[in-house]
């Protein structure tokens, strides 16, 4: 049940590159990563591509397939029409290292800028009690496999290198939301800092990040919008502003 397929693969490095067209066999049920591996084993031994689990759980094989940010291990060859060429290119928002591998260190730098989980100092191991319904809100964001497709598709940084300095991106907005909603986290001002230090205000909720998330995390609806709403509440509502000053905490109303 195998068929011939035309695959266009971007090959090159930081300074130059272009699409190379190859013919390759594809078998029933195969995903794009399978076909790339076949090319690697038989035609291009030094083709650079990241992958690990091949089961949509690690978020390594992120690339753009026919221009759309996707995981190559979760993209069925059969989802493309017969005779349609499949074009694979590296993530556009990050600098190319070689072929389909990009330098994603931007994300690790941003991770370092988000203040870590802070439990009460006197909380003892085994003593935490939380209701399932309370942990579920943060659990949704902890499903994130750090494939960085949301970062890649986000138009704030996709073609705007200059914004990277002041914008953490959707991956880290859900991280901030996760900590903000975490029943044991006591750090205040996470929402304000999302605005002041991580560029939340630059997001104009086009939901592109939610659309590409392979874990179907509702990034915009469940993380970004709630973060924005509460920031707005506090910034512009004088009574809430006063309340936040008196109580020295946010998000209680």
């Amino acid at each position: 049940m195998s068929k011939k397929l035309t695959l266009k693969i971007w090959r090159g490095n930081a300074s130059q590159g272009g699409l190379k067209e190859v013919e390759v066999e594809a078998n029933e049920g195969e995903v794009v990563l399978d076909v790339i591996h076949r090319v690697q084993a038989t035609q291009m031994g030094d083709l650079a591509v990241r992958w690990n689990c091949k089961a949509g759980k690690c978020g390594s094989c992120s690339m753009e397939i026919n221009g759309k940010p996707r995981l190559a291990c979760m993209t069925q060859v059969a989802s493309f029409a017969d005779g349609e060429a499949i074009t694979v290119t590296p993530l556009r928002a990050f600098p190319v290292i070689k072929d389909l591998a990009t330098d994603v260190s931007f994300n690790y730098k941003k991770a370092m800028e988000v203040e870590s989980f802070t439990p009460p100092a006197d909380l003892k191991p085994g003593e935490a009690r939380m209701a399932q319904v309370d942990v579920e809100r943060s659990q949704e964001f902890r499903k994130c496999i750090e494939c960085f497709l949301c970062q890649d598709t986000c138009h704030v940084i996709r073609d705007h290198e200059e914004n990277k300095k002041s914008f953490a991106g959707p991956r880290f907005f859900i991280r901030i939301a996760e900590l903000d909603m975490h029943p044991l986290d006591i750090l205040k001002n996470r929402k304000k800092k999302a605005q002041a230090e991580h560029g939340l205000g630059m997001c104009n909720i086009t939901k592109c990040c939610t659309e590409v998330c392979p874990e179907h995390i509702r990034i915009t609806d469940n993380a970004i919008i709630p973060l924005k709403e509460r920031v707005v509440d506090e910034k512009y509502d004088p009574i809430r502003w006063l309340g936040s000053k008196i109580q020295k905490r946010e998000g209680i109303i």
């Binding site: 049920g29 031994g45 591509v49 949509g56 690690c58 290292i97 370092m112 870590s116 989980f117 085994g126």
Partner: protein, 629 residues
């Protein structure tokens, strides 16, 4: 290719190779001891194979059934391993795993909860009580992310105190280690290259912790990611360490079998823990036929009782689908061989008749997703097709249980899947995540203590030169063999001749074929240059996988019995004599040599935790008479 390759020198107290659960837990501990620590990972940070662990982490917290405790967990672990486990490792593991789970909560982990708000625990094969702390079916991801974020938190604290986040703890992502460097018989550091550009790296270090995981990529059908190439096993052998009981490989009973591209991908045991049943093409729930004598008092022999167990565990025996993994894998293998398999050579696993669609999607979200997207199967409505897949290696580096120090290589430590002994001949599900937390921490402590009491050893220029030449070698050869082809050949050999059912003649055949590939690998040449070149990377992984395969085949051929993850067609029964022996593999520079070593004898206080009539099934009459030491 230019002859002049950049080399960066680094100096640390402790180098941890591997950034899965064990490596990260070890690094946290060594940094907490005030040391400077380098973490080296083959992939990007946070992608290690631990993310694929699904079911949960076993710890006898007793949150769901208060009868649970370390003694019960210890007994289950020894039973699961058919009493070939190192008793001390099983003891430490059972005693310490609750603390290791609770501490993750203080680092931000969010486990699923019980009604009282405690950490929820689920049933799993071989565990007497609900014992696995879990987060849906993505527990491994929760572990890795929690520890990744703990590392970041420690780096942030270092930045506050010392001005540089990486002053005490640094992650070197996408680096492969090709050599453990020794001087005067002691570990002095490690050597390797950056995958991104091929630049070489020297790490001088007082102690080295191996936390490199498993060997699955040596086999054709595996649940392991590309990283499971036995690097740590091979590095330890070459550094003078030993591998214990490498014949024991766990074939997880339920991997996907269709379509071909996903063959081997894991289907979590939680599907059975949540009530999934196994049937053959006659619709028969076949596991009732495969309950071994040693487990007859604990497992139901009829459907009615098995079904009642899901609601009343105190008055019914467990369903046989929850037997230890080796038993279930062999049963599936037998059904398929007898012609009662599914269309694609597996059997059926069905959870749709027990649970509602809503509950399945909530408790097994990634399973639903995986089957829907990759196989076009909706597990809330229909059965899955599943079959055995190479999942885990019980064998590994021989270590001192308390310190995780590798026997025979001073300064070398090993924790997690790369270490051997803990699981005996078969690992229980859930005992892997707890193993890597317990012994990851112990390796961190062991290495820190070692560093504090031993002067670091300087690496000589000659040692560096030899390590560097080895990395350059594949580029200096032209017209040699393709590493991808050799890898596929090796996988065929291990799959066909060292697989789930073994015989003497096939193992002998495997040993000679592996030797043949070993000779041909000397000629491997790679295309392209050092810039992110997977063919170049594979040529080193291949060398490691060959040493692993050789150790496994040579250990398997001498063990003339069937036990746990080692089944011999020509010796189908357990032999009590072999229960008293470990196979110890070492490397003499040319080939792997296997010898036997007596298993440590359990002390009386642990011996007495078991009923005599259970021990009779495993121990010799001599051992029973002595009753431990």
């Amino acid at each position: 290719m230019s002859e002049k390759v950049a080399m960066a020198r680094h100096n640390y107290d402790v180098v941890v190779i591997g950034a899965g659960g064990a490596g990260l837990r070890a690094a946290v501990e060594a940094r907490s001891a005030g040391l400077r620590v380098a973490i080296i990972c083959k992939s990007l940070f946070g992608k290690a194979h631990t993310v694929m662990a699904e079911g949960g982490v076993a710890a006898s917290m007793g949150n769901v059934n208060e009868n649970d405790g370390w003694k019960v967990h210890f007994r289950d672990t020894m039973r699961g391993g058919k009493f070939l486990n190192h008793y001390r490792m099983a003891e430490l593991h059972a005693k310490e795993s609750p603390d290791r789970v609770w501490e993750l909560e203080l680092w931000g982990a969010l486990f699923d909860r019980t009604k009282e708000g405690k950490i929820s625990q689920r049933n799993f094969g071989g565990h007497e009580y609900p014992r696995l702390a879990h987060v849906g079916d993505r527990t491994g991801l929760e572990l890795i992310r929690t520890m990744q974020q703990k590392i970041v938190a420690m780096q942030q604290a270092d930045k506050k105190e010392f001005g540089d986040a990486e002053s005490y703890l640094k992650v070197f992502a996408e680096v492969t280690i090709t050599d453990i460097l020794k001087e005067n018989g002691k570990v002095a550091g490690v050597y390797g290259y950056r995958r991104e550009d091929g630049a070489e790296l020297l790490f001088e270090a007082g102690a080295v912790i191996l936390a490199t995981g498993g060997v699955g990529k040596t086999f054709k059908i595996t649940s392991n990611s590309w990283e499971g190439t036995g690097d740590g096993h091979a590095l330890a052998l070459k550094a003078g360490g030993n591998l214990v009981d490498m014949e024991f490989l766990q074939f997880h009973p339920t991997g996907m079998v269709w379509p071909p591209s996903v063959r081997g991908i894991l289907v979590t045991e939680s599907v059975r823990g949540e009530g999934g049943v196994l049937t053959n093409n006659l619709g028969e729930r076949f596991m009732f036929k495969y309950i071994p004598d040693v487990f007859k008092d604990k497992y139901a022999d009829n459907e009615a009782e098995a079904d009642r167990w899901y609601t009343d565990q105190d008055n019914n025996r467990r369903p046989p689908e929850l037997l230890p993994r080796d038993e279930v894998a062999r049963a599936i293998n037998s059904e398929v061989k007898a012609g009662r398999g599914s269309p694609h050579g597996g059997v059926y696993l069905d959870v749709s008749k027990r649970l509602s669609a809503e509950v399945i999607k909530k408790r097994l979200p990634s399973m639903w997703h995986q089957f829907y997207e990759l196989a076009g199967v909706d597990i809330t409505k229909e059965a899955m097709e599943v079959g055995p897949t190479c999942h885990y290696v019980m064998g590994g580096v021989e270590v001192e249980p308390d310190t995780a120090a590798a026997v025979g290589a001073p300064g070398l430590f090993a924790a997690g899947e790369v270490a051997g002994g803990m699981h005996g001949s078969n690992r229980l599900g859930g005992n892997s995540l707890s193993d890597l937390l317990v012994f990851g921490r112990r390796a961190g402590v062991g290495a820190s203590e070692y560093v504090k009491h031993n002067q670091p050893v300087k690496v000589s220029e000659l040692t560096i030169k030899l390590a560097s030449e080895k990395i350059a070698a594949p580029f200096k050869r032209t017209g040699g063999e393709n590493p991808y082809t050799l890898h596929q050949e090796l996988q065929e050999i291990t799959h066909n001749l060292v697989g789930i059912i073994r015989t003497k003649s096939e193992l002998a055949d495997a040993i000679s074929k592996i030797e043949d590939i070993r000779n041909r690998i000397e000629n491997v040449s790679v295309a392209g240059d050092r810039l992110f070149n997977p063919g170049f990377h594979l040529s080193f992984d291949l060398d490691n996988m060959l040493l692993v395969a050789e150790s496994t085949a040579k250990s398997a051929i001498v063990r003339e019995e069937s036990r746990g993850g080692h089944t011999r067609d020509d010796f189908p029964k357990m032999n009590p004599k072999w229960r008293t022996l470990n196979n110890i593999a070492s490397f003499n520079g040319k080939e792997v040599v296997v010898k036997q070593q007596p298993l440590p004898v359990m002390p009386k206080k642990l011996f007495e935790l078991f009923e005599v009539n259970e021990l009779e099934k495993y121990l010799t009459s001599d051992e029973l008479a002595k009753g431990g030491r």
